[in-house]
């Protein structure tokens, strides 16, 4: 734990700075009420009313997010393997190549099926 303790100091310094400057600017800055200024910015035209709860987000982003999670997990498996690579020998290599292959198969599938097309 003593390795992580110094980071708390840095978090404190950074947080004090960030919160402090937000607070200070709200104290120091002028306050002139202006109804138009508080509207959403849309290049000067009437703002589009926002749906309650933020509305829906295209399914495309979920697909990207899911693919990301799969690959991120793959990377997390790769790291300890890479660190101990010299001790694992041929078995470790073959095991990881098999694993990479198994992840690549659905990746190819997604690619071919148009899951990686953006427009």
């Amino acid at each position: 734990m003593e390795l992580y303790a110094p980071m708390i100091g840095l978090i404190v310094v950074a947080a004090v700075f960030a919160v402090g400057s937000v607070f200070a600017s709200s104290m120091l800055g002028p306050k002139r009420f202006n109804r138009v200024r508080l509207d959403s910015y849309e290049c000067g035209i009437e703002p589009t009313p926002q749906p309650v709860g933020g509305g829906r987000i295209p399914i495309k982003y979920y697909l990207t997010a899911m693919t990301f999670i799969i690959f991120d997990i793959e990377i997390i498996f790769l790291y300890p393997w890479a660190v101990r690579f010299d001790h694992l020998g041929l078995f470790g290599f073959v095991a990881m190549v098999t694993f990479l292959f198994l992840i690549t198969v659905p990746f190819i599938y997604e690619w071919r099926r148009g899951g990686l097309e953006w427009d």
Binding site: L10, I11, A14, A24, G29, Q50, I57, G89, R113
Partner: protein, 449 residues
């Protein structure tokens, strides 16, 4: 049967030599020093960027505030501090205020595990020029960087406005896409260093920088680091042509400045990480490192090399911004997913295979031959395969084969034709009836056919 390690053994692994025994006041000094360095680097980089870009465009750049204009960014920061703090009516107040803080705090943290130099003596205490190190330091960097993304996303979401929402979504999609390539580029380094601790990785580069052995990894990292910090040519989340200022549209005053600060600190962070992982960290470049038995690699000298390398990389960022136009969103995502990730995966397998062969006692020359052969084969394949796939893409059965016919009222609005489309001859009948009949005919045909 698998032997499960006892807790004490796990504790023993969770150590890095030379860290974890600093007195509290040294830690305090280091924390403050990192904070000050990062803020100064930000102020410097902003002016540096403006001056370099100005030179590239034959302009003068900032030259009024302070000596030769070098205090311009400081003045801007103070000015922003004194500006009115607007919270839009539609915003989610708490998240809106929290977002810049969430963005900026993690940005400061990454430097905690970056080694700035070797052991030095500080007020009679020997200590390393690095706040702390852990056995999984690089993983920690990735984790902290991901938290920073929340800042941008929450900013976009909480503004309650269209442009910021799109910008926030884009930035998160972009960052996660390029984080994969970035994460994969580290694997080669770990393979050679045998550790994830940053100080260990710098130690491992005593003879040869990893950036020279692992050129593809380094190139992938350089590209993905630009994508990761949303800089030109990958600055789509704040593409002013289409999204005004992206996720930052509704922000003003110091909150906007904090995002700005976070962005520039992140530039410094990824440059510092590149220096540490690929460019030998604080070690002096080759001819200098040989002088006088490595005198330039000791004491406070390494700070110079470290920041020299970081500033060189920052210059690269600025150079890119000054010369390259912004990518289109689909090109950008395609590049990340279809080029960087497959290339990284292939490269990892290649490097691991070569290293395994060396470990198993295969001769280096033989290996070079086979490796070169494999590389050549891949190169040839990469030229040949697109020839086939692109030709086939036109007749791919999954895609609509025929160009959709031009519909002058697509989506209920009158629209102009796209480049390949023909404008149909205008029927010379009384207004509107022709359109309706064709549509109803089409509807009848649909299900029965």
């Amino acid at each position: 049967m698998i032997a499960y390690p006892a807790l004490a053994e796990i504790r023993a692994v969770d150590q890095v030599e030379g860290f974890g025994d600093d007195p509290w006041w040294i830690i305090a000094i280091k924390c403050l020093a990192i904070f000050v360095i990062l803020v100064l680097m930000t102020l410097f980089t902003i002016v540096f960027e403006r001056k370099v870009v100005a030179k590239m465009q034959h302009r003068v750049g900032p030259n009024r505030v302070g000596p030769k204009g070098w205090l311009q960014s400081l003045a801007d920061g103070v000015k922003l501090m004194l500006k009115e703090d607007i919270i839009p009516k539609a915003a989610d107040k708490i998240v809106y205020v929290l977002a810049p803080i969430v963005a900026v705090v993690p940005a400061f943290l990454i430097f905690a595990v970056i080694p700035l130099g070797p052991e030095v003596s500080m007020f009679g205490q020997t200590t390393r020029l690095q706040l702390t190190d852990t056995p999984v330091a690089v993983l920690l960097v990735l984790a902290i960087a991901s938290v920073g993304v929340y800042g941008l996303m929450l900013a976009g979401w909480s503004s309650g406005s269209t442009y910021p929402l799109l910008g926030g979504l884009r930035s998160s999609a972009q960052v996660i896409s390029y984080e994969l390539a970035m994460g994969l580029s580290f694997v080669g380094v770990f393979l050679f260093a045998g550790t994830m601790s940053t100080s260990g990785i710098v130690e491992g580069q005593e003879r040869l920088w990893y950036g020279l052995i692992l050129v593809p990894s380094f190139v992938v990292y350089l590209i993905s680091m630009v994508g990761e910090v949303n800089r030109a040519p990958f600055d789509l989340p704040e593409a002013e042509g289409e999204l005004v200022a992206g996720w930052g549209t509704e922000y003003s005053s110091i909150k906007y400045a904090l995002f700005f600060l976070a962005e520039y600190i992140n530039m410094v962070n990824v440059s510092a990480l590149a220096t540490t992982l690929f460019l030998g960290g604080w070690r002096a470049p080759w001819p200098l490192s040989a002088i006088n038995d490595g005198m330039f690699n000791e004491g406070w000298w390494p700070l110079l090399w470290f920041f020299g390398k970081v500033i060189a990389l920052l210059f690269l960022f600025i150079w890119l911004r000054g010369t390259l136009p912004r990518l289109r969103y689909d090109q950008f995502m395609k590049f990340g997913w279809k080029v960087l990730i497959p290339v990284s995966l292939g490269w990892i397998v290649l490097v691991a295979g070569m290293r395994l062969a060396l470990n198993e006692g295969v001769q280096r020359e033989e290996l070079m031959m086979w490796g070169g052969g494999a590389l050549a084969a891949i190169l040839v394949a990469s030229f040949v395969i697109p020839l086939f796939t692109e030709r086939r893409a036109d007749v791919d059965e999954d895609e609509p084969s025929a160009e959709p016919e031009f519909d002058p009222f697509a989506g209920g609005h009158p629209v102009p034709p796209l480049p390949d489309q023909q404008v149909p001859a205008v029927p010379v009948t009384a207004g509107g009836t022709a359109d309706e009949t064709t549509e109803s005919e089409a509807r009848e045909e649909g299900p029965s056919a």
